[in-house]
Amino acid sequence: MLELRELIVRAGGFTLSDISLALPERQCHVFLGPTGSGKTLLLETIVGFRRPEAGSVVLDGLDITHMPIESRGISYVPQDLALFPHMTVEGNILYGLKMSNNARHRQLVDDIVGIMGIGHLLGRSVKNLSGGEKQRVALVRALATGCKRLVLDEPLSSLHEAMKTDLWFMIRDLMERYALTVYLITHDLEEAFFLGDTVSILMDGKLLQTGNNEEVRLNPQTISAARFLGFRNLFSCKVSGITENTFNVACPGLNSSISISRRINMEQSHENGQSAIIGIHPQNIQFKQGATHCNPDDNILHGIVSKIFGKGDAHILHFMPDGGAVPVEIEIPDHQLRSLGLAQNKRTTISLRPEYLHLMRNSGNGTV
């Protein structure tokens, strides 16, 4: 178990403040956040490149805050991979073994080299490898020491989608085979939720939220976290009623009263009359065009499609509800757009299903 206890780390004018986390073994812990949020600084503190100003890093009950990097047993793969350019692939991979004089892991190295399919590259200079080959070599080098904990700092960010997905599967496979614990930094939501067993969202040096994959993905706790997780529709509202299963809110921006499932918003407590924010992901909005019967709890909104933007094999639509002040952003696949015959300025009906709506406390001034 890796525990971060009230960590404060400063780098120049940036401060990573009051980070407390407990991360169990044999899982992939993803640190998610935009550029400049402090993700790398946090992992550099875990690896030992930086000393915290306050707080401690505890690994299996042992305080490693001031322990030398080489004694921590945490391998590191940086974003630029930092393959040693004066060595061959084999030289890179065997570097850790040579430093520790540990021949026991030689078989392990051969196994990992086989799994990652880089046996044919061993004699080559690392300067002549493709991006994907370099990523594999960097991963093998980190694992070759027999180390069970890996810190990966956006190592896949420069790869194209297909290669990235291949490596996601490989990382998952390696985790299972060798009982690895992975601490991964990324700003890629797909990567985070594919690889992460637990996900922590960092923003402006603060830990906004941490939890298991689904908890974080579906239930952002703050507006900033929701925005980062792709909840493009955030509307100010006021809680107007609370029943056993639902929160009812008045949402002037949508000119409508909306009911929200309490089941998926269990983490949050709200009171009548309280100002709040509704969040919904553009992909979770349904069209009800031509539906003859609608359940009132489906939060039906009538209006027009005000704008349509192409996005490869999908489209982003702006739907303006009747009497509403702000458009609802909806993402639908290309085939659905065509089958529904949606076009600009066409009247239509949408449903904001209660189970997809997230109610967050509005800690600001009531505007989104």
Partner: protein
């Protein structure tokens, strides 16, 4: 004239400036005299002393420069800025002034004690080496630091996460990666030491067959209005210096392409 041509013209201008100066020597060139001067005991001694002193002072400079440059390149510590500024001293103070500073130091109680302890610097070969070391150490640190600054510290961090100690990371990663830069520093430091005159003559004097390095010998010949002998010695110094520089450059280029 395009910007590119202008830049190339400037490069050739510098070349012709130095090439012109070397060619001008040929006006006083006497074939027999060069060989006679070269094989005279006094000149051979000066060549041996120059090569020996430049090599020893360069070795000491680089041995001091490597850890110093590493500290300045990688770590933040109190006094770093003042050390960095002090490295410029040999560049802002003339070599003669540096030599005078050394002479004054050895006239102080500490300096006198060092001399009386058996290490003779004033008017001795040790003084030649010390003068060359003092004029080149700062430059050597500056050059090696520039080479180390080019190597991202990230490599060492990764090496340490793979189990290397700081010393192992330095020896196995940083040094091999900056070896060309260090080699360049060695070449330039050696060349600077070989041509050192001001500090050397100030502290070690110009005693024939004792402290007379090639630059000092050139000065002595010129002082005696022996232009032909001066030309011969300059040509020897140029040939040794340029030949050594060219050889090392060839070696480093071969290593780079290997």
């Amino acid at each position: 004239m395009t910007f590119k041509r202008l830049a190339i013209f400037a490069a050739f201008s510098v070349f012709f400036l130095y090439a012109g100066l070397i060619l001008a020597l040929l006006y006083f060139y006497q074939e027999g005299l060069v060989l006679k001067t070269l094989f005279s005991d006094r000149t051979l001694y000066s060549i041996r002393l120059s090569l020996f002193a430049a090599t020893v002072s360069t070795a000491i400079s680089v041995i001091v420069a490597i850890p110093s440059a590493y500290a300045l390149s990688r770590f933040q510590f109190r006094g770093k800025r003042i050390i960095d500024t002090m490295l410029e001293l040999p560049m802002i103070v003339s070599p003669a002034a540096l030599g005078a500073m050394l002479l004054i130091f050895f006239s102080n109680p500490v300096g006198i004690w060092i001399q009386e302890s058996g290490l003779q610097f004033v008017f001795g070969i040790n003084g030649v080496i010390l003068a060359q070391f003092v004029t080149t150490a700062g430059i050597a640190v500056r050059l090696v630091k520039a080479a180390m600054d080019e190597i991202p510290a990230r490599y060492e961090e990764v090496a340490r996460s793979l189990g290397a100690t700081p010393a192992q990371a330095f020896i196995t990663i940083t040094m091999p990666l900056c070896k060309r830069g260090v080699l360049a520093a060695v070449i330039l430091t050696w060349a600077k030491a070989l041509g050192e005159f001001g500090a050397t003559i100030t502290i070690a004097g110009s005693m024939a067959m004792k402290t007379e390095t090639l630059p000092v010998a050139i000065f002595m010949r010129l002082s005696g209005a022996d232009i032909e002998g001066t030309v011969a010695l300059i040509l020897i110094l140029v040939a040794i210096g340029m030949g050594a520089l060219y050889a090392v450059r060839l070696i480093s280029a071969r290593e780079f392409h290997a």
